[in-house]
Amino acid sequence: MTYKTVSEKILLKTLDSLILKSVTAIPGDVKLCLEKIMEAEKPGSMAAESIRVTMENLRMCEKESLLACPDTGYPLFYFRVGSGILPENGMESLYGASIRCVERATGKNRLRKTMVHPLTRFNPGTNVIQFLPKVEVKFSGDIDYLEATFVPKGGGSEIFGTFYRMMTPVDGIRGVKKFILDSAQRAMEAGKSCPPNLVGIGIGGTADLCMKLAKESALLRPVGSRHPEKIISDMERSLMDDINSLGIGSMGTGGKISLLDLHIEYAASHTAALPVAFNCQCSVCRRATARIYPSGKVEMLDYPDWFGRGEK
């Protein structure tokens, strides 16, 4: 097989731009959704005021290149690489490039110095320490480019919006629904997870795959996207309505809408198991994606086609 290469220079430049874009300008699909939520909330209500002031801040951040939120959180990279594509300095350079760009952005205060040693709490001040930045790579035979996504994942949604439970088949779909509903309430009450949230659910798989699906469906699928299988998409819609009906609202201030969206992904389960994972993203749902072509062309996007469903 012959490979087409993506230059190191363009890779680094693109990752720099992705970090800068993600921390200052939230994606178009999220912005549109926040506007719709503001219209839906009762004028003069605390929830409407909450969204209004959040949007005002976002406009200011985009215009003046300021941080949409100081908690730039965990630096996460997701690369989807076409089978015929190779970074100029080899696949491993994706790790090196991610580290270099995170270090650079932290030095320029575009990323807050947030990553510390979990036990000693030592903060190197670079956000580069023990497996962070996190780099996920997947491959696809259908694409002729390298798709890079950067997500600064805030602490509020990660700390208060992460749940996992190993159930048994006896607990069934009702058990799964109960777990999702209870998790959502616990995460969002009093605004802990910074709602309106984009909730991601993983069902099935091993514990790590289950949580990975929950996280990736929250972080990487666009607002408004539905799972291709009806049984899943129906569940997405119905649980979303149910969670909204709880009346938690933006930042927990009490309102009609608490979710940007709810996405479910599943993997095969062991015949004796029924694991479910919950992970959510906050209302300033930051992410930025770019497709880098061997020709040097770079296409900036709001979200990746992570699950390879032709989402664009």
């Binding site: 959040t54 801040n57 941080l67 949409a68 009702r174 109960k178 009346g247 009490g254």
Partner: protein
């Protein structure tokens, strides 16, 4: 209507605040998060501050920049207060802090301390770090920068019309979020019924 408050926060003003009020603050505040409490309680190290004169604390990890010897706030938004639940009550008592600014709300222990000692909890209505950063007139001082880094350090900010913030816990025991949470729990019962989930369902123990 937004109540404009001049700091330090006086007892009379404090008592007039009720859960659900919106306020802005003008004057000096200090910041801190986990490191502040852990160091204060477990290591007995406290910033040398006049806590009567600066009696509002903000739970926050700001993004700071030093240019030409001057510190500037680039971005700040309150961090979740409930993480500080273990130590916040005792510190309110010890420092006579009259207001804590933080995301979300706090627990039973803090609520009792606030009622007993006279303090309120203020939370942001949305996410507006750039607006808040613009309301910091001056970065007056920093403590523990070397030891804890800029995110966990204690900063003294002089702020003007800082906010708005929502009084979510007042010093009379009122709590803005409690009503919303209990209504959502009532609604949850209906949602359970719709899906055929028995109330109080226990997952199969494994």
């Amino acid at each position: 209507m937004i109540k404009e408050i001049t700091l330090p926060l006086e007892m009379k003003t404090l008592c007039s605040l009720v859960a659900g009020d919106l306020v802005t603050l003008t004057g000096r505040i200090f910041t801190g998060r986990e490191s502040f409490y852990i160091r204060a309680v477990e290591e007995k190290i406290l910033p040398d501050l006049d806590y009567e004169a600066i009696n509002v604390m903000m739970h926050v990890g700001p993004v700071m920049e030093k240019t030409q010897g001057e510190w500037k706030v680039l971005s700040l938004t309150p961090t979740t207060s409930i993480r500080m639940e273990k130590y916040a009550g005792p510190m309110i008592k010890r420092l006579r802090t009259r207001a804590l600014i933080g995301k979300g709300t706090m627990g039973r222990k803090s609520m009792e301390a606030m009622k007993k000692e006279g303090a309120v909890h203020l939370s942001p209505t949305g996410i507006y770090p750039s607006l808040l950063a613009g309301q910091v007139r001056k970065v007056e001082k920093v403590f523990f920068l070397e030891e804890t880094g800029p995110t966990e350090a204690t900063w003294i900010f002089d702020v003007a019309s800082f906010g708005p913030f929502l009084v979510d816990m007042d010093c009379h025991g009122g709590n803005y979020f409690e009503g919303i949470i209990s209504r959502s729990m009532e609604q949850m019962k209906k949602v359970y019924a719709k899906h055929g989930i028995p109330q109080g369902y226990k997952y199969t123990p494994i």
